[in-house]
Symmetry: C3
């Protein structure tokens, strides 16, 4: 059995724009193996080594794509030291290639994993393999060969999901105090801060008994400083420069400042733990 | 009648590189509907909410593309509050999708608009529609369906051009004083400042009786400060660090500093009004 | 004889993200001539006018691509003043289009040049030709016509390689002192500094009798300041914040700080000359 027709490759890295030739080297390697594949940049502006941010981007982006996309994730602080490189296939038929450093565990939140392989078959690697750029020498060629119809099992042995490293991310609910200790998992270029509190379409907070109503006042504790923000459906319902909370376009609670930069003004970085009182 | 063959989608947003997963979500939505379409990034680095800058990019870029491109413009400070989202077709057979916030009026300067539709038919939207990301949930799928041959009239009712919101941009000619009060509509990464004064290939200023000759000295008043710059054909005709004026590659008067950053050194932002004396 | 099938165009510019509409104009021009070509962004974040950095990106990237790619290089401080624009073909069947300002001479280091043409035939240019943007008006259309099968000789007369301008880059070996005076040719977004000292897979320094062994201590003199760094195979073998040296993924000696920004901390820019003692 050959693989079904994977014909799009999505690239996610922390290389940044000043290292875009690293990205184009990967594209060259891919096109040399399969000139017909479509390559899409998911993002190359992940903060250096930020596994939390990369995980957020993956989980909120991949399902917008049609199935049979191969995502290659090069956020790899451990490159050169030993860590496995894996290829995972989800039930929904997306494939993810990346180092076993916590990033791939995000898929356990969103999908079933139907297959997990450790990349080991050197026939599909690019020689000489550098010590510092496995994205180009291992992940890119393997991704390209998948789009040529090579089965996952050809790239190496099965890898047990028990050994998949998990992302360290805080999420503690205190039901009695209506309080959630949570993590800022993403900050966009407008400074909007996305927590890992998931809200459904009816404004209920998932995995809790809490539910929100527009105009509720939410208390937010950041580094011992207390803020309040109105829960609202969109920015312009609060005055300019006021804090607001909303269900972001990916279904997570976001903390923003209307026409301001919340992260800068409140001094928050990705990975910071904050306390939200509903 | 089906639409002619629109097979390229151009994306213009103010998301910036830190929000590139918003852009890739839009690409995913498009490819899910039409995996064969070619997607081109026009720019994602428009200053946040800058309708003037986005308008400039549109008018100076789109005609370099072949006809039958669908441009999707997501510079949308009003997202979530009510404003129409429109799809326009020009006589020259380009289609533009964007919010009715002034951006689309730039096409009145450069083209004839042959059709204007208000997007309303929810059959072509992505559910659930978020409050904060209509680029992904409304504009991207409609753009993709256009490339699948769906007629504009299927997406909603006609929208009168009388209701098209106009960009506020200053352009006042004082013929007697040989003076033009104008707007800086764009600043590039070298700091070159592009005004909205249009110059033809023979160095005549459009819509005036003024004409320029190389080596003319132009007076420029910026925030009460007076500068002079030689009108020239290229940078290297003036000393390093000197102000110069030239007909930029898009046909507008540009104010630059040879090997320097004019916008930073003169303290100018997009949208600033300046006075030019010829 | 028609050209072999060139069907990928790679774009390398110093336009930066704030000028991305210049890049998309070039893409429009290309797609108008050949809607089927695949366009790949090599990098647009070369430091303004940095011929050394652009040369480094070219030589370390192009061979990862399949042959029959046309690379268009718009790093062009002399635009508007007279300098030739050339099209080169290498033995390995890549074509490079760019100004004769030193950039193209990098190919003499890595390849044989089998053909060199001065672009002169205006039939293939875009009118009106601007004074400031030959990337769009000359290089992009010529590149696109090459992918349509037009032979190089149609674009202009032969150009002698004797007249190819060379990049000024320092590389002086003192065999007795085991010392190399070299140039920092590239700094990536992590601050890793790449010199022009080439190391082979067995840790021998090319064009010298020197050879390196892991754990060697290398002395580095930067602006009269002396540093030492361990030569190693990967970052994590030295403590966090320590200087290290390694054979980078492109085969050049790199100077880095483990989880730090070497270029910022040591005050180094692209083009700086430093002295390395082995």
């Amino acid at each position: 059995m050959v693989e079904p027709n994977y014909n799009i490759i999505g690239l996610l890295t922390d290389f940044g724009s000043k290292s875009s030739h690293y990205i184009s080297s990967m594209k060259g390697v891919i096109l040399k193996i399969n000139p017909k594949v479509k390559i899409i940049d998911i993002s190359h502006d992940i903060s250096s080594f930020s596994i939390i941010e990369a995980s957020y981007i993956i989980k909120t982006t991949y399902k917008y794509f049609p199935p049979h996309v191969v995502f290659i994730i090069v956020v790899d602080p451990g490159v050169g030291s030993y860590r496995e490189i894996l290829a995972l296939r989800t039930e929904s038929n997306y494939i993810f290639i990346g180092p076993n450093n916590g990033i791939l565990s995000v898929l356990l939140e969103t999908d079933e994993i139907s297959e997990c392989i450790k990349l080991q078959n050197k026939d599909y690697f690019l020689y000489p393999i550098s010590n510092t750029f496995h994205g180009r020498d291992i992940m890119a060629p393997v991704g390209a060969y998948i789009t040529k119809g090579i089965k996952l099992t050809n790239f190496g042995p099965k890898f047990s999901l028990k050994n998949l490293i998990r992302i360290p991310i805080t999420y503690k609910i205190k039901e009695d105090k209506k309080e959630i200790k949570c993590t800022v998992q993403y900050i966009d270029s407008f400074g909007n801060m996305t927590t890992n509190i998931q809200i459904d379409n009816d404004n209920n907070i998932k995995r809790t008994s809490f539910s929100l109503t527009y105009n509720d006042i939410i208390k937010i504790k950041i580094k011992k400083q207390l803020y309040t923000g109105k829960y609202t459906s969109h920015f312009s319902t609060v005055p300019i420069n006021s804090v607001l909370c909303l269900r972001g376009s990916s279904g997570y609670l976001e903390i923003s400042i209307n026409q301001g930069n919340a992260a800068k003004e409140l001094g928050v970085n990705v990975g910071d733990v904050i306390i939200v009182n509903l």
